[in-house]
Amino acid sequence: MARIGVFICHCGENISATVDCPKVSEVAAKFPGVVYSIDYKYMCSDPGQSMVVNAIKEHKLTGVVVSACSPRMHEPTFRRACAEAGLNPYLCEMANIREHCSWVHEKGDKTDQKAIDVVRMMVEKVKRNNALMSIKVPVTKTALVIGGGVAGIQAALDIANAGHKVIMVERDPSIGGHMSQLSETFPTLDCSQCILTPRMVEVAQNPNIKLYTYAEVESVEGFVGNFTVKIRKKAKSVDETVCNGCGLCTTKCPNKKIPNEFELGMGKRPAIYVPFPQAVPNIPVIDKINCTYYKTGKCKICEKVCQAKAIRFDQEDEIIEVAVGAIAICTGFDVKKTDFFPEYGYGKYKDIIDGLQFERMASASGPTSGEMRRPSDGQTPKKIVFVACAGSRDPAKGIEYCSKICCMYTAKHAMLYKHKVHDGTAYVFYMDIRAAGKNYDEFTRRGIEEDGAKYIRGRVSKIYERDGKLIVVGADTLMNAETVEIEADMVVLATAGVANPGAEELAQKLHVSYDQHKFFSEAHPKLKPVETNTAGIYLAGACQAPKDIPESVAAASGVAGKISCLFANNELTREPLIAFVDRTAPPEYSSCTGCFLCQPVCPYNAIEREDVKDRNGNLIKQLAYINPGLCQGCGTCVAVCKSKSIDIDGYTNSQMYYEVDALLNS
């Protein structure tokens, strides 16, 4: 016989101001199976928890219903209290009479009745709860870092320095990310590559870090502590173990007219190339699409000139399977291209560029060697217009959010321009100047006051070309919203920072959620900013939302800390609220018919085919088997199973049925 204890919390006055708690307790005491019922001011307080503990011992309770706040709030608290009293923690349920009752309804009989009903439903549920043991799983103490930008580099180094193994996967031929493309960084104007390159080298040299560049995550299976990851190592057509990075091949390659990705199309590169001089690793790759040999079957000049005999035209993509315990997603962001803006000509005007292109133009190692030369004719622009919020904070463009870094880099760009073109004029169209950050406001102010950037508060409605000039039409909202028309030589759009194009696909591989802008979602915006909803998978850097360098680095160190905590344990405990398949004696073995219509619906590939064999090894029956390590407990298979052969602990058919059935008595 069930012996259920009911504990009604007043939550100070949060509940009792609206719900008649003593009455609820009194009524609950008369529910069949309830042997103890009490109300108290703060159930979650120490004395409150002690009441639960004592009542369990004294009244030999077989189940507990705490009627208080949302289970999302205090379920762990009361489950711990139960465990302390020797009751299996999963024999505790919470009836939510605060968020779902006292806070949302008026005081009165109807609200009291609702509280009573909710308690009754949970009493009927808890009567059918099963005692469950939490699941223990081992931890593989290797971390996977996806993405080798500044966030990935920081995370990898911190984890490696804590003594754990790290596998880093980078999509491009070199690590470094967007930061390696930047000219100078705000607010100090120190050279981006000067501060990043040593860290890149450190990654390559750290014995705890295994680096895969020109590689992508192919698939991820498993769960916290025990992920199996397949990595596709794309064929570089160069044997990394042999190549000594002399670079002769890249100078001899006859096909040198390929738009350079690193220079955002503003420079050219050969078909066999190292993305930039400081690349790590300093190993070239052959761009198979543009390589003359791959296209025509003739050439092989690189092979001929290579002293180390490192060229491998027959190299194929390689799939590497690794076991890791935690994953850090550091895949960074992208910027909208100028063709996103119909009002600015859909990208058809050569002299409208985006911020990242400007970084390359301003960079001493860039295509113009740091000189200001506009793309169309190489002339030095005398009038330049910077447009902040190009796309950002614009619901009509589908990008409601602030890209956060543009105010700062636009100020930086204006300053860099003025430093290089002393007689030039720089205009900045802006909505607001968001310069919150250490020394940030001082920085933008310097741009305006010392370098004389002309800031115009207003938006640019359109840009068109007329007689070789870019006519920038905007409004100056501080001047009676008057129309401003500037005949510019070049325009830089601070285009919105957006998610990486592969983000959605990666999220689906990793089963982590992402927001409507395809940025990865953190588990809690305030309290779990670097965790995802999937245990063991973490986020750092701009893959979560636009972030500047210090923020990305801070988050990366945060992730490294989280992963180090995880790796401090040899074993993990997991909530045992998972699905299972009915088993029974032979000759049935199970009511499962082996139709496997449950298999496709499982998001975690947790449903396997189990062969039931006789002693001679002959197959008798094939049944569904749910791998407890993989199941995350969504229960979709339960609802799909026609013969009700699958059930899920915590939300069993019986629990849910009687919870609903308990409605009738009100």
């Binding site: 979709t636 899920i648 049925y657």
Partner: protein, 145 residues
Amino acid sequence: MSEFEPKIVAFVCNWCTYAGADLTGTSRIKYSANVRIVRFPCTGRIDYMLLTKAFASGADGIIVSGCHPNDCHYTSGNFYARRRWMVFKKICDFMGIDTRRIVFSWVSAAEGGKWAEIVNSTNEEIKKLGPYESYHKLSTQDILA
């Protein structure tokens, strides 16, 4: 006679709508007390038999709610649920089960206000329709008689 107060059962997923309803509470947005919430891990878990069961147990209206498409904590549970509901609604309609009494919705963890609106509008709609007598008679009164 006092006004008819419908019994409404809400089947919601833990990650979006349950959390959304928590937010309604935290935001102190008031709504009708006629609703009883049953928590599931995911809309994918919600068995259609539970819906008829709820009517049989005396419910006059049902709300089924979970994460918006693409928002599912388990990536796809709500997509399977959506199909299941499409088919279930079809058969219910065909068999004369009053689907005006079943409200399906997507309410995210951030949509506390929407949750209150869904409950209130359902409550009003069911009040207009009155108690679900034909089903209750068949499933309860006739059997217990």
